[in-house]
């Protein structure tokens, strides 16, 4: 078996891991190049292609350190990056030019690849979104388009006409497990992942407009809903109508808005007083 030809086959597969998958599924394709699947360890070749993809994501390790640690602990690096390599080759997608782009692309791929019923996969999905949120907020500037168009702050109690809006920038995630407890576990040499409490949490990652600090707030489902809808254009009446129907604004919704303003994450405006520019 000519070394020159074997190198050509291996290089073709490594350059296009999707080709290796096709050789596994349709051995006649490989036989056309003079090799049978019995001649070559295709799963290992495929995973080697994944190692190269992993190395090309080393630039993310600074921003996603615990995600990489968890990948390693779960023994998922080879499978995930090999699958990702195949996906990139199959779809003709190039890796992003920036860390942010690569992180987002990897996360988007994982959303489809991970098994929501697999406990380890769930931890990974929570953790990468956690670190991605921090990465996103760290690198974001906080332009405030609404400040220019909204009326002065309304300091009174929230009412039907109140328009809440976020002070700064937030990212919201519903998690199956608190990522901060996962990180604490990962600090151990042998992380006790199986002992982690699997309790759904709603997290709000918040960077105030005036500071680079990022806070991670645990909110309840109502707070999560209010924050997810408080885009500076929807009134409390609208929020209530969407949530429970009816014309009367739910008192607990107004109470929730008041609490979020007290925490500093929301400011209130009056839609009726909006000034045109």
């Amino acid at each position: 078996m000519s070394a020159r030809h074997v190198h050509a086959v291996m290089a073709a597969g490594l350059a296009n891991p999707h080709l290796i998958e096709r050789w596994q599924q349709e051995p006649t394709l490989l036989r056309e190049y003079g090799l049978s699947p019995a001649d070559i360890d295709l799963p290992a070749l495929w995973k080697f292609a994944g190692l190269a993809v992993k190395v090309r994501h080393n630039g993310l390790r600074g921003d996603l350190p615990w995600t990489f640690r968890l990948l390693n602990v779960l023994g998922l690096e080879a499978d995930i990056f090999a699958s990702y390599g195949s996906f990139l080759a199959k779809t003709g997608t190039s890796l992003g030019n920036s860390s942010e782009a690569r992180a987002h692309d990897l996360c988007a791929f994982l959303e489809g690849w991970l098994d929501g019923e697999n406990p380890g996969h769930c931890l990974l999905w929570d953790l990468i979104r956690h670190e991605l949120a921090l990465m996103q907020l760290c690198k974001t500037s906080t332009p405030d388009p609404f400040l220019q168009t909204l009326a002065p702050l309304d300091q009174g109690s929230p009412c039907a006409a109140t328009v809440p809006r976020i002070c700064g920038t937030i990212v919201l995630h519903a998690m199956r497990c608190d990522p901060q407890t996962v990180i604490a576990a990962l600090r151990h040499v042998s992380p006790p992942l199986h002992t982690l409490p699997r309790e759904p949490v709603h997290l709000c990652y918040w960077r105030q407009a005036s500071t680079s600090d990022i806070q991670i707030l645990h909110v309840d489902e109502l707070g999560f809903y209010l924050l997810s809808c408080s885009d500076g254009s929807v009134s409390a009446a609208d929020l209530s109508r969407r949530l429970v129907g009816g014309r009367r604004v739910a008192p607990n919704l107004l109470n929730g808005l008041a609490q979020l303003r007290e925490a500093g994450i929301l400011s209130f405006h009056n839609k009726a007083k909006k000034t045109a520019r």
């Binding site: 078996m1 050509a8 073709a12 350059a15 056309e32 799963p43 995973k47 390693n72």
Partner: protein, 283 residues
């Protein structure tokens, strides 16, 4: 500019270039003798040459495709030779592997351009490849005045058509080429684990007197295969191999390749350098 001297009987300790490494070297004066830097990185970011104002550099390379059948472009070889001269590196460390291969074409179909990878691949371990390495090295040595040393590759699976073990392959190449050995102990352990060979027994079959430089790094096992991993510390078996090798040989340089992660703990880096210096008797 700082240049590395490599007197016989002394082993210089270096780190592979990566995020945070120059800062670590600067923060620990006298601890690290040099930084090993890839030619490809310098080609992409020429400003990195300024590192040599504060620390000597050693040139590493992954572009020569020494064990391949598709040669690198003349311009690439010229650029490597020029970089080596400019840097005054004591040698160029290159992988005993390939990065480019013929295009894959079906019978009767016109082939396209060669397939070029961005990383090195363990070649078929055979007489055919050995002869190709001999020819390639002769050509490269006629173009580069800087000595060449060859690094054993990690072997993740048996390459089709292989007729030799990794050690037999390295021995065959070195017996027919005037080059030194860059013994990557993590690659070596990976190859031994993945082929079911006894690392301690096999390492002593290598021509250890030809070792000019040693690499150590981490590895991890996934899906039943041991993989190269520069983001984790070298495990105990790598240090055991190092002790074995040092009992037979005194390399001129030892490079720790902990260069995949900016989060690699400085404390471990420091501890491993100290451990290596202790093994070398230079603590």
């Amino acid at each position: 500019m700082k240049y590395l001297s490599t007197p016989a009987g002394t082993t210089r300790i270096g780190l592979a270039y990566g995020p945070g490494i120059p800062e670590f070297v600067e923060a620990h004066p006298g601890l690290v003798d040099y930084i090993e830097i890839p030619f490809e990185q310098l080609r992409h970011s020429p400003l990195l040459r300024s590192l040599q104002e504060s620390v000597p550099l050693v040139l590493h390379c992954a572009s020569m495709s020494v064990a391949g059948f598709v040669p690198p472009a003349d311009a690439t070889i010229d650029a490597i030779a020029l970089e080596a001269e400019r840097m005054r590196t004591p040698w160029i460390g290159e992988h005993l592997a390939f990065v480019a291969a013929d295009p894959l074409a079906l019978p009767g179909v016109a082939p396209g351009s060669p397939t070029t990878l961005t990383y090195t691949v363990c070649p078929q371990l055979s007489e055919e490849t050995v002869q190709q390495v001999v020819d390639n090295v002769a050509l490269l040595q006629s173009r580069c005045t800087t000595p060449l040393i060859l690094e054993n590759p990690p072997q993740y699976f048996t390459v089709p058509g292989s007729t030799m073990t990794m050690v037999d392959f390295v021995n065959a190449v070195l017996s027919r080429c005037q080059v030194g050995l860059l013994l990557d102990l993590s690659h070596f352990l990976i190859a031994m684990l993945n082929t079911g060979a006894d690392a301690h027994q096999e390492v002593t079959r290598l021509p250890l007197e030809r070792v000019r430089e040693i690499h150590i790094s981490g590895l991890n096992t996934q899906s039943g295969i041991a993989w190269d991993d520069h983001a984790t510390p070298a495990p105990a078996p790598v240090f055991e191999l190092l002790e074995l090798v040092l009992a037979h040989s005194r390399p001129l340089a030892l490079t720790m390749e902990y260069n995949w992660s900016p989060n690699f703990p400085a404390s471990i880096l420091h501890a491993h350098i100290t451990r290596v210096r202790h093994l070398l008797g230079t603590a």
